[in-house]
Every structure is written in structure tokens, then in C-alpha cells.
């Protein structure tokens, strides 16, 4: 695509940097209280109390795992009962065909296996992963996030997003630096 055809860069959101974890928590609290929904806080390490500050609800991952565990449990039992006592019964040292104790190890293993799959892939799904790029990577300053940078980014498609008001809010919360994040539309 030629340069002439390139559309103007679109604003993805507004990135604000804060000096330390305590300031980041305070800012997240203010942003949350102002009613923003589409925003996130970024830090080099997990910060205790961030979930409450951002008003995050309990993760739904547990329910995904539970569903998988139940599927694994009944799936394994059904598979073994069908194969070894209905479809092709084999006499193993005179034990009953429907030999529930012998089925427990496989049932246990499959319950654990599917739970683990549910946990890992459910986590991927809920984090929108795998994702090859994020507009935030367009900011040079954001590279500090793996070292000593504490950021909040409010997305432009949030209902409350307003160029001046959002900037003022982030500024009042104690931001040391504020910039726009752009998406490159020519992708």
C-alpha cells in the first residue's frame, strides 16, 4: 500500500505514566470511580490491591474449569463403561465387567487433564490470546513497563472517553507523562 493511500492514524487510547505502584493504585481507583470501563493498568509486577482499585470482579475462569472437570469425570466413566462392559466385555481375573474401582484412576486422570486444559486454554481465551500485536507496542515509552514503568491506558472507544476530560482526569491523578496511542489503520 502506498503512502498516499494511508489513512490518518486513529487514536486507540490515552496512556498515562505514574511514578510508583501506590500512585498507580490511586489513579486506577480514580479512573474506576469516574466510570470508565475499557481501561487497564500495566506494571512490571503484580500489585496487591489492584483488583479492588480497578473494581475487577472475580474471574470466571473457575467455572470454565469446573465445566471441563465435570466433562472429564463423566466422559471418562462413560468411555470405560461403554468400552469394557457394553461394547466389548472382557473377563479380567473374574472381576465384574462394570468394575467401578478399576475405572477410578482413569476417571481421576481425565478429570485433572481436562481441568488443566480448561484452565490454560480458558485463560488464553479470556486474555484474548494468542495476540500478535497490541497498539500499546507502538509507544516507545511503554517499553518501560517491563522494567520500572507504571501505566494506565484508557481506550478511545470507552463511552466516557473525551479528549480533554480524560486528559484532565489522568493529569489530576498524578500522571508524570501523558500521550496518545495510535493504531495503524493500514494494516
Amino acid at each position: 500500500m502506498s503512502k498516499a493511500e494511508q489513512k490518518p492514524k486513529k487514536v486507540y487510547g490515552m496512556l498515562a505514566e505514574y511514578g510508583n505502584p501506590a500512585k498507580l493504585i490511586r489513579a486506577a481507583k480514580l479512573v474506576n470511580r469516574a466510570g470508565y470501563q475499557k481501561y487497564d493498568a500495566y506494571s512490571p509486577f503484580p500489585i496487591h490491591g489492584m483488583d479492588e482499585a480497578m473494581g475487577l470482579k472475580e474471574s470466571k475462569l473457575g467455572y470454565i474449569v469446573l465445566v471441563h472437570a465435570i466433562m472429564g469425570f463423566f466422559g471418562a466413566l462413560a468411555l470405560q463403561i461403554w468400552t469394557s462392559s457394553i461394547a466389548y466385555p472382557i473377563n479380567i481375573s473374574g472381576k465384574p465387567f462394570m468394575n467401578i474401582p478399576a475405572f477410578i484412576p482413569v476417571t481421576f486422570e481425565l478429570t485433572v487433564l481436562l481441568s488443566a486444559f480448561g484452565a490454560v486454554f480458558g485463560m488464553f481465551f479470556m486474555n484474548n490470546m494468542p495476540r500478535h500485536n497490541n497498539p500499546l507496542f507502538n509507544s516507545r515509552r511503554f517499553e518501560k513497563v517491563t522494567d520500572d514503568g507504571f501505566f494506565i491506558c484508557i481506550e478511545a472507544n470507552d463511552d466516557f472517553f473525551d479528549e480533554d476530560k480524560t486528559r484532565k482526569l489522568l493529569q489530576d491523578a498524578g500522571a508524570t507523562h501523558i500521550e496518545h496511542i495510535y493504531t495503524l489503520e493500514d494494516r
Partner: protein, 394 residues
């Protein structure tokens, strides 16, 4: 952080009422059991062994918990630690309480009888291990190891309350590291001696782990109940918080699964191999209405607490934790009964009044001693280097 000061009263209010009640109940139970001894000597010894193994399991698991806490330098449970410390201190009392079992060996253990020894090949084969003098020597070794460890760990911890000497913490670790090794061996062999040798034809190499897994699960139930009891009295409300009890709840949940894993593995290997002298033990326990207990162990001891405590919120919900803990503490006794009693009543399950009276007698005395000791010192190791960290846990 600013909130690192203990604001609670750390001394249990001097209250002789609870001691009078517990010692009174205990004495009553002992008196009833004493009468039972003359009424039905054999039943008395079996009931006594059941109650003893049941109550000893709490103190032994407490000792393990304290040593584990020291060698891993854990901080989360420092506020809870004085409770298991006091329980493990009691192990020398349990040593005294074991003496009636030594005198009742001829009633309890068939391998002591000369007639059986003369005719039974297996009894002759196992005689180098299963003979009365060696049995007594082993008990002396077990109880001296346990009493020593429990006594030292408790005394050092109490001494730290007074002189705040953090060097004692290093000493605690030095005692705990070899202690945990000695503990694992002695508990495994003690469970072989007390419970497995009741049916000396039978053997299970994982019986020691089985006894330990039962005990450790029940131990967390007990510590949760005691924590909730202290809170209901308005004690340590800001010291033993929802977080500490919630953590004990998580561990109780974990060890519920561990127990089920071990108990099932023991059953499963024997069931699948199908060798007569091994299966007979389970055969007796699936006979008559013993099978009701066998199946209820799966449902009540594993499935019920597992499902009740599965969600994250449930693990720090005091009502659900309390219910599951009571279930576990009760079923733990029933399982001990289920291990011991089929040797005597192999036709079916029945509760004898001596089971209750020995349990109430020994349990009342031990709990009485617990509260007597608990009142003497601070209820938490207040000068422990990790105490503030534990207080700040959230």
C-alpha cells in the same frame, strides 16, 4: 505498614470454668470406662485403643505441622502456631495414657497368644518383629522421640515470648529438620504397631501414610474449629483473621483430596491384586453393616467436604468451614472405629457405650490440659520474627 501492632489481648482470660467443665467430663468418662473395664475387659481395650489412636492423631499431626512450619520458615500461620504447639507439648501425657494398652496387649493383639504362635505360620514368621518385649521397646522409642520434640519446640517458643531471642528460631529449625525425619519413621511404625498388627495376617505398606493423611486432614479441621471457638469468645479477632482461617481451610481442602488419594490407593492396590491375606481386611469391612461405614467414608469424608469447599469463597466462609470441620472431626473417629473394631465385631457395626466413655474421658482430659496450658502463656508466639508478617497477611 502502619497496622503492624497486635491490638488484641494475647492472654487467654484466666477462667477456671472451662477447665472445671472439661476435667469434670473427663473424670466422669474415665470413671465410666473404669467400670467398663470390669464389665467387659476386651471391649474396654478395643474402645480405649480407638479413642487413643483418634486423640493421638491430633497431637501427632500438630507436631508435624509445627516442625513443617519451622523448616519451611513459613510466616502465614505464625498467629495460629501456638495451638498446635500446645497440642504437641501434650505428647508426654499421651505416653502415660498409652500404658493401659501395654497391659491389655493380650486382649488386643492375637499375635501375643502362645497358642496362635504355636500353630500359625505367619505369626512365627513375623515373630522377630511382633513380640511383646520389642513392641514395648518400640513404644518407648516412639513416645520419647515425640515427647522430646513436642516439649522442646513448645518450650523454646514460650521462651521466645519472654526474651525475644531470635537465635531460638534457628534452634527450632535445627530441632525440626531431623525431627521431621524421625517423625515420619516413628509415626509409620507406630501405626503398624497400634492398628495394623490387630490383624497380623494383613499388611499394607502404605498404612503409615494412610494414618498420617487421615490425621493431617482432621488436624486442620480441629485448628479451624479452635480458631472459630476463640473468635466466638471475642479473642484474637484481629490476630487470627479470616485470612488465616481461610488458609487453614485451603489446606484442609487439599488434604481432603490427599486423604482420598491415599485411602483409595491402598484399597485399590489390594482390590486389584486380589491376594487372599490382603483382601481379607477389606472383606471384613464390607461385611454386614460395616459396608455402610465403608461407603459413607467415601461420601462423608471425601465427597462432602470436597464439594462444600470447592469454590474459592467457601474456603473462607466460616459457616461452611465450620460444618466441614465438624463433619471431618466426627468421621475421623468413625474411621478409627472402622479400622479397629472389625477385629472384635466382625459381624457388623455397632457402637458400644465404652467407645463413647473412653473418648469423652481421654478427650476431656486432653482438652482440659490443652486449655490449662493455653492459659498459662500468650496465645500467639508474639515475639516470633515472622509474627508481624503473619499479622499483616491479607
Amino acid at each position: 505498614m502502619a497496622k503492624t501492632k497486635p491490638v488484641d489481648d494475647l492472654i487467654y482470660p484466666q477462667n477456671t470454668g472451662i477447665l472445671r467443665v472439661l476435667f469434670g467430663i473427663g473424670a466422669l468418662g474415665i470413671f465410666a470406662s473404669f467400670i467398663g473395664f470390669f464389665v467387659d475387659t476386651k471391649q474396654f481395650h478395643f474402645s480405649y485403643l480407638t479413642s487413643f489412636s483418634y486423640l493421638a492423631s491430633f497431637s501427632l499431626a500438630s507436631l508435624f505441622f509445627v516442625m513443617l512450619h519451622h523448616i519451611t520458615r513459613s510466616s502465614w500461620g505464625v498467629t495460629l502456631r501456638r495451638i498446635p504447639e500446645t497440642f504437641s507439648y501434650q505428647l508426654f501425657i499421651l505416653a502415660i495414657m498409652f500404658i493401659p494398652i501395654l497391659f491389655g496387649m493380650e486382649y488386643l493383639y492375637k499375635w501375643t497368644s502362645p497358642e496362635i504362635l504355636a500353630t500359625d505360620h505367619l505369626a512365627q514368621h513375623k515373630q522377630p518383629y511382633l513380640n511383646q518385649p520389642f513392641f514395648i521397646i518400640r513404644q518407648i522409642i516412639y513416645f520419647s522421640v515425640w515427647s522430646f520434640l513436642g516439649y522442646r519446640l513448645y518450650k523454646n517458643s514460650v521462651k521466645m515470648d519472654e526474651n525475644a531471642d531470635w537465635g531460638l528460631e534457628t534452634l527450632q529449625r535445627k530441632i525440626s529438620a531431623p525431627g521431621i525425619l524421625l517423625f515420619s519413621l516413628t509415626v509409620a511404625f507406630a501405626s503398624f504397631d497400634w492398628l495394623m498388627s490387630l490383624d497380623f495376617h494383613w499388611f499394607s505398606t502404605m498404612f503409615g501414610v494412610y494414618y498420617f493423611s487421615m490425621s493431617f486432614q482432621a488436624f486442620f479441621a480441629m485448628i479451624i474449629l479452635l480458631g472459630l471457638f476463640l473468635r466466638s469468645r471475642g479473642l484474637l479477632l484481629n490476630t487470627i483473621t479470616r485470612v488465616h482461617i481461610g488458609d487453614a481451610g485451603k489446606l484442609m481442602f487439599g488434604f481432603t483430596v490427599f486423604y482420598a488419594y491415599i485411602a483409595f490407593s491402598q484399597f485399590f492396590l489390594i482390590y486389584y491384586a486380589n491376594i487372599p491375606e490382603e483382601t481379607l481386611w477389606y472383606y471384613h469391612r464390607l461385611e454386614g453393616n460395616w459396608s455402610v461405614i465403608s461407603y459413607s467414608l467415601i461420601i462423608v469424608r471425601f465427597a462432602a467436604p470436597f464439594l462444600l469447599l470447592l469454590s474459592k469463597a467457601a474456603k473462607s466462609n466460616f459457616t461452611l468451614l465450620g460444618i466441614s470441620s465438624v463433619i471431618i472431626v466426627v468421621i475421623h473417629f468413625l474411621e478409627m472405629h472402622w479400622i479397629v473394631m472389625p477385629t472384635l465385631h466382625y459381624h457388623g457395626f455397632s457402637m458400644h457405650w465404652l467407645d463413647i466413655s473412653t473418648l469423652v474421658g481421654l478427650g476431656g482430659l486432653l482438652l482440659g490440659f490443652f486449655f490449662y496450658q493455653f492459659q498459662k502463656h500468650s496465645m500467639v508466639p508474639k515475639n516470633d520474627p515472622k509474627f508481624l508478617e503473619s499479622l499483616n497477611k491479607h
